[in-house]
Point group: C2
Chain length 395, copies 2
């Protein structure tokens, strides 16, 4: 039988994939996903917007569109999501993507040759690791502390490995919830300019801030044109729409355009137009306030339950936004094994190992999501997990 490509062997056999199928059990409390709350979606606004759009520009929306994106969305993205962060861009600097997953894939396609070095945070987004593996990248982890990526280690690895690309989630990082402070952001942009590598600044969570002051993106410090910032409407409007955006130099964007042409021609017009109208009608600020209040309550319940139910030897991050926190268990813990027991107890989380290049070092960690489940579910889930952990420690 015809053999699959070599690159199809590069995806890691996912130990947790089968477990994820078990998680479809509706009785399980899922702290495992990365989904916004169902009740967070601005459904009434979207219904009105779609009805208006189809009444006034239905044919244009149903017809083929332009690969770089629905023009009103490119403009609205610049005006409402870039300019307020101090980033000036023209339409030629922007491409709309089918989620920021596609944006990451496009940048890999445009820049990576087999064997190129890509630096990532020592625990990072699973899907990016898989895409980098597919492209045959040599992936190198950069150490993190409580403030995210360590610049000393980054500088050392840049000099040692001459990377082509750095992938970072600087704000409310997945999986750790950590945020890189201002000076480090500036340093990352400077290192990229000095040592000539591309930075993918993946920022799907930055606008979901529960408290504290917003920081300028790395892109803000990008005098050399080497930073490509990715944004997503998944966490701020709705993931089902599959709309993201990337901003970079005109040369980079037009290269991404050629690759996108071969991937899906363009992103669904109606979904793009919904995002544009949502921004242009000024609905985003109130919506972000509403979901931030919702997620802050959930995060606070989770933090208080971690104190109440988890063994005192556990440590955890206190994210100022986003969807996740990261729990560190005592040495010798194995969260992949623990997940089996948790699923029996009808609770799901994601064990640390798959986020880490060095799976062994990830075994002490678990990622908990606080955006999807209601506060009382979070409380019950943490109670059950806490009981399991106390049993483990006594065993």
């Amino acid at each position: 039988m015809v053999e699959f490509s070599q690159r199809s062997q590069r995806f890691q056999a996912s130990a947790i994939r089968e477990l994820f199928k078990l998680m479809a059990d509706p009785e399980i409390i899922p702290l495992s996903g990365g989904s916004p709350a169902d009740e967070s979606f601005p459904l009434a606004e979207i219904r009105t917007i779609i009805d208006d759009l189809l009444a006034t520009q239905g044919s244009a929306l149903l017809q083929y569109g332009i690969t770089t994106g629905w023009q009103p969305l490119r403009e609205a993205y610049i005006q409402h999501l870039l300019q307020p962060k101090g980033i000036s861009a023209a339409a030629e600097n922007v491409i709309i993507t089918t989620g920021s997953t596609q944006g990451i894939h496009l940048v890999c396609d445009a820049f990576l040759n087999e064997g190129d070095v890509v630096l990532v945070e020592s625990a990072t987004f699973l899907n990016t690791l898989n895409v980098l593996r597919k492209f045959g990248a040599q992936i190198v982890a950069v150490d993190m502390d409580d403030q995210g990526m360590c610049i000393d280690d980054l500088a050392a690895k840049v000099q040692q490995y001459h990377p082509k690309l750095l992938y970072t989630i600087p704000t409310f990082q997945n999986p750790t919830g950590r945020t890189i402070p201002l000076e480090r952001r500036q340093a990352i942009a400077q290192l990229a300019a000095e040592y000539d590598f591309i930075v993918i600044e993946d920022d799907p969570y930055g606008d979901v801030r529960l408290e504290g002051e917003a920081l300028p993106p790395i892109k803000y410090f990008d005098a050399s044109g080497r930073v490509i910032m990715m944004n997503s409407f998944s966490k701020i409007i709705a993931p089902g729409l599959r709309v993201g955006a990337a901003v970079g130099t005109a040369e980079i964007i037009s290269t991404l355009e050629v690759f996108k042409q071969g991937m899906d021609t363009h992103t669904d017009n109606l979904a793009q137009a919904v995002c544009a109208e949502f921004l242009n009608r000024g609905l985003l600020p109130a919506h972000l306030q509403r979901i931030s209040a919702m997620y802050k309550e959930r995060r606070d319940v989770m933090l208080s339950c971690l104190d109440t139910y988890f063994p005192a030897s556990c440590r955890y991050t206190i994210p100022q936004g986003g969807l996740f926190l990261w729990v560190e268990l005592p040495p010798g813990s194995d969260t992949t094994a623990l997940l089996n027991k948790a699923v029996q107890a009808k609770v799901a989380f994601v064990p640390g190992a798959p986020f880490c290049l060095d799976a062994e070092s990830g075994k002490r960690y678990m990622r908990l999501n606080y955006s999807f489940s209601a506060p009382e579910q979070i409380r019950e889930a943490l109670r059950r997990l806490g009981a399991l952990l106390h049993d483990e420690l006594q065993a």
Copy 2:
């Protein structure tokens, strides 16, 4: 500055790309595109469907979906588009794609190693050629006659090149409008089984039949599981939705799923649900009748104008469906050069060269689209093109 990947050099510098930008001039009559008519879209039905869907399952549609597709669409695709063609499939045999462009990309990702041989029709879909080039395929053209791909030449090239993949558009082919007859379809499936290669049967146009009897797809004859059929909702509902589907063995589909996960996670749920409802409400047959009647009128106008306005030395195909016909000009003609003059005369078509691996042999051809423009525009465009061609022949 950071260099782009080697694969980004593989896209052919598109000579017609700049011309396509000129074609944005609204005064130009576009016989160049591959778009359905704006007035063909079932806009009222789609408005009603979306309103119903958002009223009843809004949260599920706005939430993250499953990589293989919105379950009701997988089922509706099987029931309404596969079973009537004699193809039996279960959900595990189906993946919903972001247009069939994505389906083609996924199969390349799953099967092609650098240097693998891929057979294509001697004139074929531009975008597929670009994707194959990106993957570093060695592309080999198979001769065509009036009945599409020649089986003798296919058999000879299969034995000579040991291809990994054959890409074919058997029904109302792009760009020629030709349809492969039944015995050849059977022969293709048999050759794939005997010589162990994968067939991509790209079928976006098959349901847009203007006259004549439908033929079974190559997939119908696929006893060995080597045929992957791609369908699209772009031509039968609306391209702006970006929804397609692929059917193959469970093993192949689950491999495509892993690649799709890294490309866009899943296809827009609402767009998928619109397609599912359109099928399940039984709206497709009447809609296909309506657009077929519309396109038949336009095709007939084009055929009659070819007789009236074009030099008698021109030959052309008479497609029984789809969106395109293919005109052969006398030896020595150069349609790429002609396009410059046509654009001056405010008419656009696609010259033959970019569809052909051997660009030189494509210079005599042009592809004309009859689906997008109204009959009176088609008449005027053919009158202008005919005048240009008479001038050329007298020069």
